[in-house]
Structure formats: C-alpha cells, structure tokens
C-alpha cells in the first residue's frame, strides 16, 4: 500500500485534474482545437456552402492573398527582384529600429542617410507628383532619420548601425527603379487585401496622438490639486455653482440659451473639480472609453452626418458667419463618412476622442505614481523647470509604460476597425474604411468562404506576432532603470 502510494506521487494527484478540468475543457474545445482547425481550414477551400466540395489547396490561399500574377509579356525576374527589394526594405526597417534601440555604433551616419532619403522622396513627390503614401513614407523617413541622429552618446564613426539605413536606401532605390516594369507586367492577385492592409495601417495613425493625449492628461491628473480643507472646498464649490447659475440666467436672459448652457456646463465642471478634486476629471475623461461600443459609434455616425449632423451644421454656420454664401458653404463642407478622403480621418478623430482618457491614461497614471519622488525633488533642487523635469526625469522613467502602451495599441490597431466599419460605414465608401478584420468578417460571414478567411487571419497573426516579439526583445531592456 505504502509503495503504491509512493509510485503514484510521481504523477499529479487526482485533485489537480479536478481543478484543471473546467478550464481545460474550454481551453481544448474553444482555443486549442480551433487553432488547429483554423490551420487546417487555411490550406483548404473550407466553406459553409453545402455545394462546395472540400478540397486541399496547399498554400494557394496564401499565394492568392500575397502573390502577383503575370499579365502580358512580363519577365519573371522583374517580379522576383521587386519582391526581393520589398523584403530588403522590411528587413532594413526592422534593422533601423533595432539599431536605434540597441545603440549600435554608427547610427548617426545612418540617421543622416535616412533623412536624406526622406528628403529625396519628398522632393520627388513635389517634382513628379505621387500619392499620399509617398508623402507619408517621406515624412516617416525624415523624422526617423532625424530621431536617429539625435541619439545622445552615439558616435559618428562607421559601424554596424550604418548597414540598415544603407540597405534601406538601396532597397528603396531598387523598388523605385523596378516600379514601372513591375506593374506593367504583373498585377496583384488580391488587390483588395493590400488596400485593406493600407486602410488598417492608415487608421493606426491615430495611435501616437492618442498616446500623447493620454500622457498629457495623466501628467495633469498626477497630483491632487491643492484645494485646502473640506470646509473651504465646500464654500468654493457653492460659490462656483452660484456663479454658474447667475451666468446662465444672465446670458440666457440676453437671448443666447446655447451660450448660457455651455457656460453653465463649464461652471459645473469647475464646481465638480473643486468638490471632488482630480477624481471628477479622471472619471469624466474615462467616460468615452467606458461607454464605448455600438451606442457611441451610432452617436458619432449621427454627429458626422453630412446633412443633419452637428459637425457640418456647425461648420456651415461658421462659414456663413464669415460671409460665404449658403450654397458655396455646402460645397466646401466635407462629406465625412460618405467621402473617400475624409472617412478615415473622421474615424481616427473619433478613436482619439474615445481612447485619449482611457486605459492608456490610467496606465500612465499608475506609471507616474511609481516614479520615485526623490528623483523629482533632486531635479527641483537642481533648478529644473517643468519641461526639463518632464524631458529628463518623467519621460525616461515612463519609457516602459510608453513602450507597453505602444505595443498594445499596435496589436489592437492591427485587429481593430471592425465595429466602426460594421456600424458606421459598412466598410465604404468604395472600401476605404474596410480593415483587415472587417475583410475577414466579410469573407467568412457574407461569402461563407472560411478557408480564405482563415488564411487572412493567419497573416494578421503574423503581423501581431512580430509586434509581440519586438515587445519581448526590447520591453525588458527598457525596464532597466539606472
């Protein structure tokens, strides 16, 4: 009996299985098995239509998504060289980021090269014309190059840090040279995939604004306001409310009820701030995130309505106030969600409004409260102003938080855009707000083409995996605080 017991101890006790069972049932049924099934689907033409016979396709779904096909008498080598240059471009981009974070020597010379390339791209755009994409990439290169040059302590010598930018320049030149012959002889197999990938990345341009706004709000909210004891606060709050009421009555009696209401709201905000200190503002800033969902999307859809929405009605009234005729004003107003140009900026603005005081701000607040107060005191003693304190103490101390938030936002942004596309725009106009996640939804829920949808989802996973890998590689380094 005793020996038997000893032998059993090498295996987990039965109670372990008991505790794991409920979780593992769900884990196997709804996570592990689906992952395997999804892999299987992505190499077949799996469909919910009964008429479609299941067929093994190998990598054809992926080739259809990412590949090009020859149209007319093209040279195959051109296509391959083009792809090689594109891959080199990606490798060079990753290498540039890496060299910047890892502090490879020579990154300043690389920075010069990068910003020169960025300037060249911008000049090319001005001289020869070109799309929005060219402007954006030129600006990114320029800013990236300058940022790389600004690195403190990096040397000007040649070093491995020069290679990624050199590769970037060569790859960009190669792409530019091959651009004409490539697209004359080849066409994309699934041009929509690339369009929707572009849309997804475009919509992610709101992320830096959102993060910067969150940081600003968090720094404003970090310390309690010195409002004195509760008795004083109560009196101040009361005075604020009375002032608000008086303002409303006065302005209202002048015949401007709207101004009266807005002024009243402003006074109310001040009264709340006096009564509950920063908690009231934190609550207010978090509300858009907390209430986000279909209801908020519906609200913004109504706000952006080109005919009846307050955005355009207000803008129109303003234009007419400047002496523009009613018809001309109507012509000038953007159509927002109904316009190919303005739909994406409109969605970005909404996203910033929703996210600015959200979880990112709370994470920044947590990060700020973890900064040792001695550091700030020491900076104070050394005579640092608020900008110097922010630049040399707060910002470096918050680096891990910023990094974490950025990576999480990128991961979220890559998967995002479904709700707004489904509720606000149906992916239109002309597919200009369809993101990859909405494309997946369309492929599988409208076309019932599960195989193809699964293939897209695995490509999306590849992007997310890269973002996560960067997080693992560099997130730890930043946490080392001197």
């Amino acid at each position: 009996m005793a020996r038997q017991y000893k032998e059993r101890r090498r295996l987990p006790e039965p109670a372990v299985f008991g505790f794991l069972l409920p979780n593992f049932l769900g884990f196997f049924a709804f996570l592990l098995f689906p992952i395997v099934l999804s892999l299987a689907m992505s190499v077949t033409n799996w469909s919910l239509r009964p008429a479609v016979e299941l067929e093994f396709l190998g990598a054809r779904n992926f080739v259809d998504l990412l590949g090009v096909r020859a149209s007319g008498g093209g040279v195959a080598a051109v296509g391959w060289a083009y792809i090689a240059a594109a891959v080199a471009l990606f490798v060079a981009l990753a290498g540039t980021m890496w060299s910047n974070v890892a502090g490879w020597r020579g990154s300043r010379i690389g920075g010069v090269l990068l910003s020169a390339l960025g300037a060249a791209v911008l000049v090319a755009r001005i001289a020869a014309g070109g799309g929005q994409g060219l402007v954006i990439s030129g600006l990114v290169l320029l800013v990236g190059g300058i940022a790389a040059m600004r690195r403190e302590g990096a040397s000007w010598d040649f070093g491995p840090g020069v290679f990624p930018p050199v590769l970037l320049v060569v790859a960009a030149a190669g792409l530019r040279a091959l651009d004409g012959p490539m697209w004359a002889s080849h066409e994309l197999r699934d041009p929509r995939f690339w369009q929707f990938l572009y849309n997804t990345l475009y919509l992610m341009m709101g992320i830096p604004f959102s993060i910067a706004g969150s940081l600003l709000l968090a720094t404003l909210l970090n310390h309690r306001l010195p409002l004195g004891p509760w008795r004083k606060r109560l009196v101040h709050t009361g005075m604020c409310l009375v002032c608000g009421a008086v303002t409303m009555l006065l302005v209202g009696s002048l015949g401007w009820p709207n101004v009266a209401l807005l002024a009243g709201v402003l006074w109310l905000m001040a009264a709340m701030g006096l009564a509950f200190n920063i908690v009231s503002f934190r609550t207010l800033f978090y509300l858009p995130t907390f209430t986000s969902g279909v209801a908020l999307m519906v609200l913004w859809k109504a706000l952006y309505n080109p005919e009846t929405g307050p955005v355009n009605v207000g803008l129109g009234a303003m234009l007419q106030g400047f002496g523009v005729g009613a018809e001309a004003a109507k012509e000038m107003l953007p159509q927002w969600l109904a316009s190919v140009t303005w739909a994406k900026p409109a969605l970005i603005f909404m996203g910033v409004w929703i996210g600015i005081g959200g979880t990112n701000m709370l994470l920044y607040l947590a990060g700020l409260s973890n900064i040792p107060p001695q550091l700030l005191d020491a900076a104070q003693v050394d005579g640092a102003g608020w900008w110097a304190k922010f630049r040399h103490v707060i910002w470096p101390q918050l680096a891990p938080t910023t990094f974490f938030i950025s990576v999480m936002s990128i991961i979220g942004g890559l998967q995002g855009g479904f709700e707004q596309a489904r509720v606000m725009t149906q992916g239109g106009p002309a597919g200009s707000t369809t993101t990859l996640s909405y494309y997946i939804y369309n492929k599988f829920f409208e076309d019932l083409d599960l195989g193809y949808a699964a293939a897209i989802s695995w490509i999306l996973f590849a992007f997310i995996f890269i973002a996560t890998a960067i997080n693992w590689r560099f997130g730890r380094e930043l946490e080392v605080v001197e």
């Binding site: 505790f19 794991l20 709207n258 209401l261 800033f285 978090y286 509300l287 209430t291 489904r422």
Partner: protein, 300 residues
C-alpha cells in the same frame, strides 16, 4: 537616492498654495476644466438631441425650443411613432436583460474556472507544472480573430446558433484570467495553506476558505475586466444570433440604427438610455473600477 548636494542651499520650500505653485495649480485646473468640457460635448449633443422634436433635430441649437419627452416612450415601445403612427416593436428591455444576464454568466463562470486552474498552477505541486503552464500561456498570443472562424464552424456543427449557451460557453474560460490569478495566488504566503492542510483540510477547502478570500483583489479585478468585456462584446453575438429576442444591447443598437437611422432623435434617445446607466454605474463604482482596469489591463 542622491545625497543632499554640498553647495548653495536650495531655495527655501514655499508654503503650499503660494506664488508660482498656486499659479501652476490654477493653470492645471483651468486646463482640466477645458479638456473635460471638450470631451463632454458629444454627450451634451446626444442628450439635447434626444429631447428634440423631429423638426428641430437639424438645427445648431443645443437647447431645444420645444423640448419633448416623447422620444423615450416611442423607443421603449409604449407609444406609437408620431411620424408613422406605428409602434417600433423594439425589445429594448429584453436587450438590456440579455446583456446583463450574459455578462454576469460569463463573468461568474470565467472567474471560477480561472481561479480553479490558477490554484492548480500555483498552490499544488506536480511534475511539469510550470512547463504545462508555459505551453498554456503560449496560446494567449493567438488573437481572437484566428479562433473566431473555426469556433463559428464548431457552433454551427453543435447547433448552438441562436442560443444563450452558444454565447456563454466559449467565453467561460480564459488563459489571461488564469495567468492573472496565478500571479496573485503565488504572492499569498504558502504557510497559510500548509497550516490548513495540517489541520486536515482538503484541497477544495483550502481553495475555497483560504486562497479565494486572500485572492479577492485579483478576483475583483478579473471580474470587472471580464464583465466589461462581455457587456461590450459585439462580434460574437452578431454572428451567432439572428433572433432579436436574444440580442444583447450592442447588437440591438445596430439593428435599431439600421432600421431607424434616419430618425436621429429616436436613435439618440436610445443611445441616452444605453449610455447613461453606464455613466451612473461608473461614477458610483469608479474607485473599484479604476483599480480593476489598471490591474487587469497589464497583460502580456
């Protein structure tokens, strides 16, 4: 950190609330008030539009000339639509109930299964435990988009479409929740459950009476996070349901918007009824919620 520098003495500390410090506080206060004002404008418009009669919706005015309460009973299906004279036949109350019922069900099940698995991964000792846990965690990296498609196929095969359990079961477990609670349980000193075990307590008793009460902050954080996620979930109910009796609020709002989207005042009344309860809940429990969100969102 740094020793006091030997040199010119620092400026004498100012009493709080005097000079530049006070000016800074006033600037901060004004900036906060202004930001709060800007952020709340869409909400203001929403409330005002919901009190406007049909004819006034397109005007710039925020204060309606003839405020009306009629939009609310129309959306709640208690009065006919004044424009068409017909009832909208929405099931607003039912959608509310569905949302809350589903969110509670998912939260209870998920917290329970996660806590049990976390107990097995942190307080019980067995060979290969940490390796199994790492392999388990690795699956967290796969985003929801990937598993959504095969899960839909599974639900179709099981004939779970248009059922409550089809909505609850896939969300009843979570690798992230297990991870969060395991971290919490690891920080509870092991002497406590060893003492309980010497007193003859079974694993279940230790779990229920020792570990669970001590892990309460973690449980609450996970509960809040799960509840919010479940209340907000949109994609899964959208593809699983086509019976409006079972719609949660999110899908119901979409249905309402796609049918009556041109009647902005009705849509805004529905939005107000959707958002204002959330605002009240948040303001009441905000201390709890902020802690829970801060804890729960530190994934990865």
């Amino acid at each position: 950190m740094t020793a006091a520098p030997a040199g010119p003495p620092p400026a004498a500390p100012r009493p709080a609330g005097a000079g530049p410090a006070r000016a800074g506080a006033i600037v901060r206060f004004c900036a906060l008030c202004l930001m709060g004002f800007v952020i709340s404008i869409p909400f203001l418009w929403m409330v005002s539009a919901s009190f406007k009669p049909r004819a006034e919706v397109e005007e710039v005015r925020i204060v309606p000339r003839k405020p009306t309460l009629r939009n609310y009973p129309v959306v709640l299906d208690m009065q006919p639509d004044p424009g068409t004279g017909r009832f909208l036949e929405l099931r607003f109350g039912r959608w509310y109930f569905n949302s809350i019922f589903l969110a509670i069900g998912i939260t209870v099940l998920q917290v329970l299964t996660s806590a049990m698995a976390a107990y097995a991964f942190s307080r019980m000792h067995w060979r290969g435990r940490d390796k199994v846990f790492l392999a388990y965690l690795a699956t967290m990296m796969v985003p929801g988009v990937v598993t959504m498609i095969p899960n839909y196929q599974i639900m179709v095969s099981l004939r779970f479409l248009n059922t409550y359990h089809g909505l609850v079961l896939p969300a009843a477990f979570s690798a992230f929740g297990t991870f969060l609670l395991r971290q919490f349980m690891l920080s509870i000193p092991p002497s406590l459950d060893e003492a309980a075990k010497i007193d003859g307590a079974s694993h279940w008793q230790v779990f229920w009476h020792v570990v669970m009460p001590l892990a309460r902050p973690g449980l609450i954080a996970l509960g809040i996070f799960t509840f919010l996620g479940a209340y907000r979930s949109f994609f899964w109910p959208l593809i699983m349901l086509n019976n409006d009796q079972l719609y949660p609020m999110q899908v119901g709002m979409l249905a309402l918007d796609s049918t009556y989207g041109r009647q902005v005042e009705l849509i805004m009344a529905a939005t107000v009824m959707n958002i204002v309860p959330l605002i009240i809940v948040f303001v009441t429990f905000q201390k709890f919620l902020v802690k829970g969100i801060q804890l729960g969102s530190v994934k990865g």
